[in-house]
Symmetry: C2
Subunit: 147 residues, 2 copies
Amino acid sequence: MRLSTRGHYGLKAIMDLALRYGQGPVALRSVAERQGISEHYLEQLIALLRQAGLVKGVRGAQGGYMLAREPEKIKVGEVIRALEGPIAPVSCVKEGDPVACDRVTYCRARTVWLRVRDAVASTLDSISLADLCREAEDVRKGGHNAT
Amino acid sequence: MRLSTRGHYGLKAIMDLALRYGQGPVALRSVAERQGISEHYLEQLIALLRQAGLVKGVRGAQGGYMLAREPEKIKVGEVIRALEGPIAPVSCVKEGDPVACDRVTYCRARTVWLRVRDAVASTLDSISLADLCREAEDVRKGGHNAT
DNA sequence: CAAATTCCTACAAAAATACTCGGAATTCGT
DNA sequence: ACGAATTCCGAGTATTTTTGTAGGAATTTG
């Protein structure tokens, strides 16, 4: 029931961009340094985000990456799907193209996976990058300090 | 965001036992055949369930496995935790012993993982094996046929 | 033109997963 | 008491996925 570092790193990275939204392109190297992630590896992750239309790259000197839309309009669910593929605890309930197992009709467990999938999806889809930015802001102002 | 076959197969297997609760021990071989899982591999999975106190083994001829408690008293969450370890999309929000990352205070994403974890956990903990048995019963009686 | 940077593809190392194998211990039925 | 059925145990292996590394081509700025 775990996320790979793709989702983990990738969300960190896109949040780094979200916090700098409107300030021009941000070089990947600086993101990698701030977040403590290998630059080359991060490059591959951000490529997934770009292909999904969530970030835009600007080539050349002084180039970098930026969000393709306002932080309000990007849901965490989109980010995770771009990085990790369709949300699905098991393949027979994959969003989009479920891979039917041969025993669908007899499978007693499927309803569990459906519910888990929906719980995860609706959680992720209810949070936007802007929401997370606001939270970051609260913390900076000395708000509640979660352990 | 995927479950390994441990959780997948393991839940199938324990459901097989749940549907035969009260009818004496069920040989692992028969479970493996019905569910289409390698017997040797299933053996290892059921060992996890036994160590977690969810099933009991009865050795010798005519032996087999049975639930250690009534199906009502076993939640799917316990089964999944026994097979896959603590529920945690990422290690810094692991149930029980979270592994703090060095950037906890600055991490903008952590709140997402906490919410996902809780959504998954509460979903899994709200379903008992008996619930799934009832559903199976409904289907057998020609109830609604999910795709 | 030089420096900075994205973009692309292929390869490689490490870790986790999904098994296989062989055999010891236990119990039942005869 | 014996043989068959079965759990129980630990070690080994194959496959897949994850997590990177490497090198360089393309693009833009100054």
